[in-house]
Symmetry: C2
Subunit: 329 residues, 2 copies
DNA sequence: TACATTTCCGAAAACCTTTTCAGTTTTTCG
DNA sequence: CGAAAAACTGAAAAGGTTTTCGGAAATGTA
């Protein structure tokens, strides 16, 4: 087992004092270029990494951030988390992972733990796009909310732009010449469902079409199948359906096919989420809206950096989403 | 924002020396009960949390572990990671998350970072059950491998027992009276595919049946559909198929149905992984093997605790898996 | 050469906690 | 009561890094 090199090992190898070594390594300008070079080489040779504990003892940054997920990291949390981890890794930050499992007691506990460890900032990853209680007040460290925004508009939040996403989906269908467009989505208790329906209605109005019916249900394949029956019965002439999730869309396609409708010839289907396993594997592969969650996570992380630097950017930021065109339209 | 209390604040408030306060707080037995009480109250009042940085500087445990994933995008890593996080959280451990994205340079970098931060131990979460190079040598901290074992048998590794899982699947089919059992699975370059095929063959032999054909392909739904055609063509009398993954099984079921075979009446199907979205939503819902990944992760974490305590348990430990019976058999 | 600047370097303090060791007080026992 | 043992307390050091400040060396000026 190799002993981990300390700065005094480096200083000794370079033949300078500890103080000089520190200054050389941190880019202070009181060191001759040639001396600095020697120190840097010594550090390289010993693969020296400053001990963050010692550093933070001085009151400096700990180069550590907390990643607090409110619910056991679901399907949506993961990419956000990865994007954030990616950005932090590049910034020499270490990420402390805390999964509160939807338990607010546990969340409080984790927040205290994170503060005791003197994290420089916290990212809160939500489980849905519904607003969640702010934890920012009096915390003493910057907080950025990703996916699920804070209920305090002065906090910094990043959410996917579902309004724009659903507009894009509808516009795509209209461009293809579809005129009778239904919308099948999840529970209206979800902000995501409400916003997607709202965006869809707005886009239909823009196109001079009357808003089609909205079918609210579960976020499941089963509901997609049920809804197919309802939609086709309610309006046999329907030529397109915009689904609030890929799961719903996958169920819808399946049931529509069984009823003899060809996709996309008779009825075009657009999903939401771009959940690869469903969207790419369904038959035909699904046109869908990709919420770019990894980019969202990365962006949130970068803004946490900024906030740590004192350049916070309050507000709920809507991140662009993307239309992924496959064979279902 | 209030200044964070230090132990000397506590000592001062309680009217004792710093040393006494420390001993009282850490349960050392050289403090009179009444003194201890006073200190504890003072700590409570100031909501004092010891600074882990200062603590770790002394060479004591940092109460921090590294969670190194080679590819956490993979859906297998996630539950393992959650289980581990769960166990650590309960043990007052903080988890440093590092995602090397399958890049060994990056992995080296992260390992150095973790060491510089003086983690007490590291869990390495693999992306597949194939053995991966050991990082344990000369590291100076205990390492436990979860899901993907180390290639060094002296390391501590935890993997799902695919051999037993596939035996269970076959036994289940045999119990149901099925006799002509095919096996459709992924690429033979995967240890998982090889072991599952091996276990299946062994179980068939145990039952006095001749091993059916094995179809190697991709881990995809598409391959499942293709394979259905091949299997049904090769042996029209086949009455069961054991698939190496739920994706394959889902594809198989779909294609079999299209060819007029009823599941499970004409042909029973068992999947592998218990990937909820596929297994529970397919029609009919899939009987499948659940590898219990979250338990595996938790167990690995607990054994890391043990290893940190000096009670390592070398070897590759095969963790039990579970048959989940649904409607496809 | 003598002096004033400028440049560079190193000693030491500070950060917070734990632990050791020596000193002080209390208790026990003959 | 006196001595020995036990119980308790506090000063100080250690751990790795950054920063401040004073001093030394090098350079420029008279």
């Amino acid at each position: 087992m190799q002993r981990i090199a300390t700065i005094s090992d480096v200083a000794h190898l370079a033949g300078v004092s500890i103080a000089t070594a520190s200054k050389a390594l941190n880019g202070k300008d009181q060191v001759r270029a040639e001396t600095r070079q020697r120190v840097l080489e010594a550090a390289e040779q010993l693969s020296f990494r400053p001990n963050p504990a010692a550093r933070s003892l001085l009151g400096g940054p700990t180069k550590t951030v907390g990643l607090l997920t409110s619910d056991s990291v679901g399907r949506f949390g993961i990419p956000v988390l990865l994007g954030a981890e990616d950005a932090f890794g590049a910034g020499e930050m270490a990420v402390l992972l805390c999964d509160a499992r939807g338990d607010s007691i546990r969340e409080q506990h984790y927040i205290r733990t994170l503060l005791a460890r003197r994290v420089d900032g916290i990212i809160v990853v939500g489980e849905s796009t519904d607003a969640r209680p702010s934890i920012t007040r009096d915390l003493g460290v910057p907080v950025v909310y990703a996916y699920g925004p804070s209920d305090d508009p002065d906090d910094v939040s990043f959410v996917p732009d579902d309004l724009e996403g659903s507009r894009t989906a509808i516009k795509h269908l209209v461009t293809l010449g579809r005129r009778r467009i239904a919308h099948v989505t999840g529970l209206a208790t979800y902000q995501a469902a409400r916003e997607r329906a709202e965006g869809a209605a707005a886009a239909l109005a823009d196109a001079g079409l009357e808003p089609g019916p909205v079918f609210w249900g579960q976020w499941s394949q089963r509901w997609g199948r049920q809804a197919a029956a309802m939609v086709l019965h309610a309006d046999p002439e329907v030529d397109a359906v915009f689904c609030g999730s890929d799961q719903i869309a996958a169920g819808f396609i399946e049931a529509a096919r069984e009823r003899g409708r060809r996709v996309p010839e008779d009825i075009a289907v657009v999903g939401y989420d771009n959940w690869e396993v469903l969207a790419a594997e369904s038959r035909p592969p699904l046109t869908t809206i990709d919420p770019n969650l990894e980019v969202l996570g990365r962006t949130a992380a970068q803004h946490l950096f900024a906030a740590i630097d004192g350049r916070a950017t309050p507000g709920v930021h809507r991140m662009p989403v993307q239309l992924v065109i496959r064979d279902s339209t």
